[in-house]
Amino acid sequence: MAELKHKRVLSLWILTVFLLFVASIIMGILMRLTQGNAMKMDVSGFFEIMTVHGATMIGIWFVAGMASVHYLLHRYVRVTTWINLFAMVFTVIGVVMLWCAAFIGKFHAGWTFLYPLPLFVAWKHWATPVFLSALGVLSVGWLVWSVGMLVAIFKKYTLQQAFGWQYFKKVHQVDTPPFILITVVTLIGIVACLLTALLLLGLFFSEIASGNKLVHDALLMKNLTYFFGHTVANEILYLCLATLYELLPEVSGRPKWKNSWYIALAWNATMIFILFAFFHHMYMDFVQPEAMQVIGQLASYFASLPAVAVTLFSVLAFVFKNSIRWTTTNLLFFLGTMGWIIGGVGAVIDSTISANVFLHNSLWVPAHFHTYLAMGSVLMSLAFFNWVVFDFYNQSEPEKISRLQIILLLIGGFGFLLMFYLGGAYSIPRRFNVYPSQLSIGSALALAAAAFAVVYLIAIILINIRIVKRCIKIFSSASS
């Protein structure tokens, strides 16, 4: 019965995520159409949409990952549904506040709200505090959620076990499933970046409260902003990887992956590296000490190394010359891994200081993070959704994603992303609502991107339609 309760909350999450996802994709398409001169949007309207698009996309895939992990946790430890509901209430309040700040209050400083732009009010005066409070509400809700899950894990596993340190010894009695290890590592990163968000918001509010007399150091604020922004975006993917480790072998009808010393080592290393990678957002701030810049590049490179070396290899070795029962779930996991690795290559190039001179704040930046979000973690989350809403093991014939859906998804997704990469290579800046005549190639790319994004949207709707129907059924049947 507990499982049903978890499933009901989860299906509510899935419905919310799906609705907001479609809305945010449409916003994205509208922005690309505006950049392509195919439609007119007033300037502040464009950036309001940009702010909401960014915040919503990060938010929904973050909660999708969190909800997935929360659901799977109940296989190993006792998790309560109340923190899940608590997080949901806070998320809904936060999102509503955020949308109000942007669409009613005309707030348009971008979801990264880089200091001191939110304080140079070019919108309704209440919009800045409401936007910042919205982020505060989300941070608090998610912090409670993360800490709640960590407590649930630590009640069963000791610290050493949770980090998988027993695998460094010759003999060990207790096994830590890879899922638990990755979840712990990821949640720790999440707690750190949410605490940073709260600290940052505190500094913002101290400046507002002092009537803008108290001025903070712009460099400190930028560092804090990206510690939060970069890390939270990055951890989304690791949440998805936790579900992948748990489910990929299982749904393919194969034995579960066992933990080992190198998996434990890789994820412990990732936990540390991930905390320093955000320095790569400050490469073009010459005031940041060079040592930090070098650490930024080292951490960005080596944060990818353990997770990729272990996970990518495991996924490929798992599929290679093994008869796999391909279903929607494991196929989406497989494709998601591919998207993640491709986005990772784009990210590693961008995190190289000498290349960043040409790429910083060009369309290359949205190119790489859209790759590992739209074609990486989104696909992995959809894989999980698909698995969880269908009664997987009682089906006589495993449902299969249609070839058309896959083709639409790949063409739409990668076509849309390629336009971003080309834009980056042509030095087209990101976050421009229109392109000056010298950069008119940006408009052409934007139009093509909008067309591909429509294809991607159709694929997403086709894949999701059955999931959404099931979710509504699960939710309503249980309540009756």
Binding site: F154, L220, L224, E290
Partner: protein, 251 residues
Amino acid sequence: MYKNIFLCFFLILTRSLSWGLDGKEALSEEENIYQKIANVAITVKGKEYPLSAFYSKSPIIIAQVFTRCTGICMPFLLQLKTNLQFIQTGKSYKILVLSFDPRDSESDMQQLAETFSLQNDSNWIFATTDEIETLNNSTGFRALWDSSSLQYSHEALLTGINSEGIIKKKLIGMKNREAISNLISEINHGFIPSYSIPGQNSMLNCFNYDPVSGKNKPGIGFLIMAVPALATFLLVLLLGYLSKGLYHRRT
């Protein structure tokens, strides 16, 4: 108690703001930068030399003062002296204290040197010049005569000249050790990719450049940056030890 801590914190923060009121001067530190200094004739201990005779040997820092000053000149020189005692850069430079007051004589300047016990310090040169106007234009120094107080109204200026006679960096006002170290580094062909505009930053600065080691030292801001990560690890340790074995005890 928390309220008090917050109040103290807030007070310190606002205090840091008032230190920065002279910050508007910052941009004028850029005036005449990279221009060649006028090669004026200066008189040291009765002998006349061209300025180039000094900077061609080692980079120099010019401090423009006048001996009858009842304002900033004395504390300024004293602070400079104290700061330099703590800066061990290993880099060569000389301090040229030049009077911009035509009334100052050779002996006035020697007396000034003695006041600071610097008359025998080979790194310090006390001098006068007849070409005050030319030098002032070249360094961008401005002094206004106030006949009511019989004083000049002027800024405290340090001008850093490298061995080619190029003005590399200027400092206006009483500066801390780091700014002076920066100045010494610049006149010795050092290049610092960035510097902060004084007064425009709060005390929560992330980094302070230390030209002695050529590295940035973490400031308070950097510690603040590390707080969330440290807090997280402490929290995890705490949670881990508090919840240890709870599960097993209950089942």
